[in-house]
């Protein structure tokens, strides 16, 4: 036991000392995380060996052994991937069956889309107000550009496809499902019995049914109930199906967030005289949504990938058009290349969403402990 006299420093005068060497920095990290014992050292070496083997094989297939130039499948002789099919089919992957001479319209929509989405994602953008007006107008502009009329050649929505269709479905679904989900979540927690019952029924019905069923019903059964001659666009029906489906999931994610807000926050807002909608908009939802960002983005990503199911009702989204490409007799046995490319495109979209959500979580973190 040490007594006061054993100490090198007088009480109250102990200086801040640096940590012992080797416990911090790269060396400390390596020792602590990778080589902390004999067993762990062996596991580390085995893992590196495994990564080396797999990595080598992947690099050979994707890069060093792959064929990038040539016109036909006969050029692919090196044993790796035959990427020629991607180049040949690239336009279809992007635009589906959209008429070739009208691609420029889709391209304009892609570019405008970036400007329409940016202000929704970043609140520090200069002139954000003006951009937001543009964002609100964008859906109408995009619809006009893509479907035509009034001077532009009409393109049937059945011909929209590939990445274009996936983005249209995904973004519309995401943009629609969040507000609908919020309303459903608030409705489910409402004191008004009719509102609550309606919301519960809607959520439970939609969640209890597979998306394919909903798409199929929207596509094939809805026309049976509508009067003769009334006909919704097939794409519109798919859009509504996807949006309603994901809004039911969204509602439950958001309800989780609402329940995590302490009662004191509701009381604080009430005691100050805020109305119900003011306290929801200013106090409760900003906190609740921040808590469930991971869940919301999870639902977004799920929704984005679920759009591939529209191929069931005869729409050719990114995956649907890939299946057409795989069946092409000109390029035989190239399914791995095609699906790898499609997977890459999906991965880029979904990974971006995931990174954005992490960034947003960090930004909104105000160090609050309640």
């Amino acid at each position: 036991m040490s007594s006061l006299t054993d100490q090198k420093y007088a009480p109250g005068e102990h200086p801040d000392l640096p940590p012992p060497p080797g416990s911090i920095g790269v060396v400390g990290w390596l020792r602590h995380r990778l080589f902390s014992s004999v067993g762990n050292t062996i596991l580390t070496i085995l893992a590196f060996f495994f990564l080396y083997k797999v990595g080598n094989a992947v690099i050979f297939w994707v890069f060093t052994g792959a064929t990038f130039t040539g016109d036909t499948q006969d050029a692919c002789t090196q044993g790796g991937a035959c990427w020629l099919v991607i180049g040949d089919r690239f336009h279809q992957f992007m635009y589906g069956l959209y008429p070739q001479e009208e691609y420029w319209r889709a391209n304009i929509v892609f570019v405008l889309m970036v400007f329409a989405i940016a202000p929704l994602l970043f609140d520090k953008l200069p002139h954000r107000g003006m951009f937001l007006i543009f964002s609100a107008l964008f859906p109408f502009a995009a619809f006009y550009l893509l479907s035509g009329g009034w001077g532009l050649e009409t393109v049937d929505t059945a011909n929209w496809g590939g990445m274009l269709l996936t983005l249209v479905l995904g973004i519309t679904g995401i943009v629609a499902s969040l507000p609908i989900g919020i309303l459903l979540a608030l409705g489910r927690r409402s004191n008004m019995p009719i509102v609550r019952t309606l919301c519960v029924c809607f959520i439970e019905f939609i969640r209890g049914v597979p998306l394919i069923t909903i798409l199929f019903m929207a596509s094939n059964m809805l026309p049976l109930f509508l009067p003769e001659g009334v006909n919704f666009d097939k794409l519109l029906r798919a859009l509504i199906g996807v949006a309603l489906f994901s809004s039911a999931y969204m509602a439950e994610v958001i309800r989780g967030g609402l329940q995590a807000i302490p009662k004191g926050q509701y009381e604080g807002a009430d005691a100050m005289g805020l109305s119900y909608w003011q306290s929801m908009r200013l106090i409760i939802l900003p906190q609740a949504l921040r808590i469930v960002i991971p869940g919301i983005v999870n639902t977004f990503i799920g929704l984005y990938k679920d759009t591939t199911l529209v191929s069931i009702i005869g729409l050719f989204d990114l995956l649907g058009i890939a299946q057409v490409a795989v069946a092409d007799v000109k390029w035989r046995g190239l399914a791995p290349e095609t699906y790898a490319f499609i997977a890459l495109l999906f991965f880029i979209s979904c990974f971006s969403m995931s990174r954005y959500s992490l960034w947003l979580e960090n930004k909104l973190h105000t160090g609050h402990k309640r």
């Binding site: 004191g264 926050q265 009430d270 005691a271 100050m272 200013l282 609050h368």
Partner: protein, 257 residues
């Protein structure tokens, strides 16, 4: 506590709050039993009593955080009924500080203070910020205006909560155990703020166990037990000459240490 002289009462004959025969139940449990209380404008009232005696429930009925089932509550000549308009009107005029502060953690201290003036009173942002800074100076933390509540100590948070309520320029302030979640070091700074507030003539109802505060500031001390008002008296009388056995027992317990 900075000064020790007894505050002079600003009590007037005008009635600020009136509770007449108020009853409340939680399910089968009878929490408030025939509460009758009249609070004059400028009067400072301290409510004490053992936990579960209904003191918090009673003051939470005054701004309708809890609903009473029988009797009348009249605040500032407005009767508290199910009418949403009346409830919102009363809440605008009645400020409240909570045991756990209930600051909004996603907003800065300044935004916490300006929110209600801007959205409830429809005040221009600039004016609301000036008023907020004025009250933050009064509770002696103007330098924290741009921080988030999570970055402040408990005592600072409670002072922000007081400033936030004052920004609405309320006619009545309710305090629901404002110091019971605080470390001893921080209780004094909050009580000082409350004493200064009392000095300005604010009508105050405080649920608290700070008997020093009650002696110094209160016009009347009310003792509640099992949902009833057992005794009410001037502080000296209440502490030196309690009438009921229940009050004597409570005081002996609370003052024993």
């Amino acid at each position: 506590m900075s000064n020790t002289n007894v505050q002079t009462s600003k009590k007037t004959d005008e009635v600020a709050i009136q509770l007449k025969g108020v009853h409340k139940w939680y399910g089968q449990f009878h929490v408030l039993k025939n509460i009758n209380l009249t609070v004059g404008r400028g009067e400072r009232i301290v409510i004490c009593g053992p936990s579960g005696s209904g003191k918090s429930t009673m003051i939470r009925c005054i701004n309708r955080l809890e609903e009473h089932q029988q009797g009348d509550i009249i605040v500032d000549n407005i009767e508290l009924t199910g009418n949403l308009k009346n409830i919102e009107a009363i809440r605008r005029e009645v400020g409240m500080c909570f045991q756990h502060f209930n600051l909004f953690p996603h907003l800065t201290v300044l935004e916490n203070c300006t929110l209600a003036p801007i959205f409830v009173r429809k005040m221009p942002k600039k004016e609301a910020e000036e008023i907020a800074m004025h009250y933050l100076e009064r509770v002696k933390i103007p330098e924290q205006a741009d921080k988030y509540p999570g970055q402040l100590s408990g005592g600072q948070q409670q002072r922000v909560a007081i400033a936030r309520s004052l920004c609405m320029n309320p006619r009545v302030m309710l305090f629901d155990e404002p110091t019971s979640a605080l470390d001893p070091e921080m209780i004094a700074e909050v009580l000082d703020t409350m004493i200064e507030l009392a000095d300005t003539g604010m009508t105050m109802i405080c649920v608290t166990h700070e008997m020093g505060f009650a002696r110094k500031v209160a016009d009347r001390v009310i003792f509640m037990d099992a949902g009833e008002i057992i005794e009410e008296n001037k502080p000296e009388e209440f502490f030196n000459n309690p009438q009921s056995d229940r009050t004597k027992k409570f005081l002996s317990q609370i003052l024993a240490h």
